[in-house]
Amino acid sequence: MIAYRLVKDLLTHPYLALAFRIYIGIVFLYASMYKIVYTAEFAETVAGYQILPHWAVNIFSIALPWIELVSGILLIAGIRSRSAASIIAGMLFLFSLGIVVNLVNGSSIHCGCFHYSREEFMSWWTLVRDLIWLGMTLHCLLFDRIFHLERQLRFSRIAKEIS
């Protein structure tokens, strides 16, 4: 009983959520860099998944890295962090779905998550990794509540108005 409570407290601790939040933010910030610099290659990777129709591939490839970048920054800074975490969770869910579809179809393509030089062909480990990240993001959604720049700014604004 005590052990259960201890584990529960540990797993739901806001500092753990903070650590996850910062980590996921950094991961997505880093991941966006390659995609922003090599947009055409990222578009080819997206096309390789064969999930999006041909008219949506390019616009998706143009927008997604910047959404990742903005979400990552917001997550790290603690501004609208829940909304940013929701977006990232959504992206991870879609990526995971895409991986599952392609693995089931037997496609051997690159994930397209990071720089080409760092990646092997996608595998079930890629899926596991994305699911772990998805779990971390959901943890942030549920338990994160400390060190938000937004709250500090809001409260200082309210305090100024009161005074």
């Binding site: 055409a40 064969q50 129709p53 041909h54 616009i59 143009i62 927008a63 997604l64 409260f155």
Partner: protein, 385 residues
């Protein structure tokens, strides 16, 4: 004037209550009634005595033991000022007066009554007076002690009892006016004080009402502030659809702008929408061409897809590496050679894009397979590797 000098040897009879005394009291009252300044009253009284009662010299000392202030006024033939009164003289006199007031009597002295001082010897002030002075001392409103010395001519004998009585009455009348002047001073001081206090009170009242309204404001605002803080906290905690839209929209805008200014940017809309499309060939026709060996089949898909499976005998010309591969392998190809390009996927029309590039390189007989490779495969047509 001479008739009013009582101590002349040619004095008349019946001094007390005589018409002459009454006139004197009337005169002094008339002179003093309009005065409010103590110094002025004292001076007027002394001058009256000098003029009407035959006094040669008169000196009044008023002493406030609490404030330790004294007023000395002297009028007469020889001295018009009190230069001869030294500090020491004043102190010894005031000390004597204080002694007299306290002597043998715990109850307060009646105000406005003059007491005859029979002997001025203890004061050791004889050197200051000429002849045989007549001294009176009095208490005024329990706050002031007073001393009057009246001096007659050198040749005069001591004052008679009647004279002393008269002087006492005159002095007591003088004291009435002094008291009145004191009362007026007090009233004036009190009035000033009241005005000041009223001003202060008004200011305090204004400050109080300001503070009160401020407190009321905060009291009223407290629930609103609490709600505002709660609302802000909630907002920062919840997931907002608007926030999601804003973030996605902002990312999209940034991406489009960056793509526009980036030399390596890509077209947001498919190029085949604005490039002229190449003629298409259906599968059976393509199969006939294949069987006849007339056309060169070009697989425009990425190399890894080509390596998995392709139309037998086809060459790989990945659209993404078109320039490289064309330069390596196909730059010497006959422009009139018939080329059939395939490689369409759900997410990319590699075939149309590659066909367009081939046409722009001068190839005249370029057609595109109207269906995907998977369809060729499903029909059981020959495939490689």
């Amino acid at each position: 004037m001479g008739e009013e000098r009582l101590w002349r040897t040619e004095n008349r009879e019946g001094n007390r209550g005589t018409p002459l005394n009454q006139k004197m009291f009337f005169e002094i009252t008339r002179e003093l009634k309009g005065l409010r300044d103590i110094k002025k009253i004292t001076e007027t009284f002394l001058l009256f005595l000098l003029e009407h009662v035959g006094i040669e010299q008169g000196t009044v000392l008023l002493f406030d033991p609490k404030e330790e202030e004294s007023l000395i006024l002297s009028r007469g033939r020889d001295r018009k000022n009190v230069a001869d009164w030294s500090e020491e003289n004043v102190q010894s006199l005031t000390a004597y007066l204080t002694y007299l007031m306290k002597k043998g009597n715990d109850s307060p002295r009646p105000s406005g009554e003059a007491e005859y001082l029979p002997d001025l010897t203890p004061l050791d002030l004889k050197a200051l007076f000429k002849g045989l002075p007549l001294g009176f001392w009095f208490v005024l409103h329990e706050t002031h002690l007073g001393f009057i010395v009246l001096e007659g001519e050198k040749t005069l004998t001591a004052f008679t009892d009647d004279q002393q009585k008269l002087f006492k009455d005159l002095i007591e009348l003088f004291l009435v006016f002094l008291e009145r002047a004191k009362a007026w001073d007090k009233v004036r001081d009190l009035t000033l004080e009241v005005e000041q206090k009223r001003g202060q009170l008004k200011k305090i009242s204004i400050d109080l009402s300001l503070s009160e309204s401020r407190v009321q404001f905060f009291e009223k605002s407290r629930p609103r502030l609490r709600q505002a803080i709660k609302r802000e906290l909630e907002r920062s905690r919840r997931v907002s659809a608007m926030d999601v839209l804003l973030i996605v929209g902002f990312g999209l805008v940034l991406g489009v702008i960056f793509n526009l200014i980036n030399p390596g940017g890509i077209s947001p809309i498919p190029r085949i929408w604005y490039h002229p499309s190449s003629p298409e060939m259906d599968l059976p026709s393509a199969k006939m061409k294949f069987d006849a060996g007339e056309a060169l089949f070009l697989d425009a898909r990425p190399n890894d897809r080509f390596n998995e499976k392709h139309i037998r005998g086809a060459e790989n010309l990945p659209q993404t590496l078109f320039d490289f591969v064309y330069l390596m392998k196909f730059s010497r190809l006959d422009p009139d050679r018939e080329l059939i390009v395939y490689g369409r996927t759900f997410s990319r029309h590699y075939d149309q894009e590659a066909a367009y590039l081939l046409s722009s390189r001068g190839h005249t007989r370029v057609t595109v397979l109207s269906d995907r490779f998977e369809a060729w495969q499903e029909r059981g047509y020959p495939t490689g590797p």
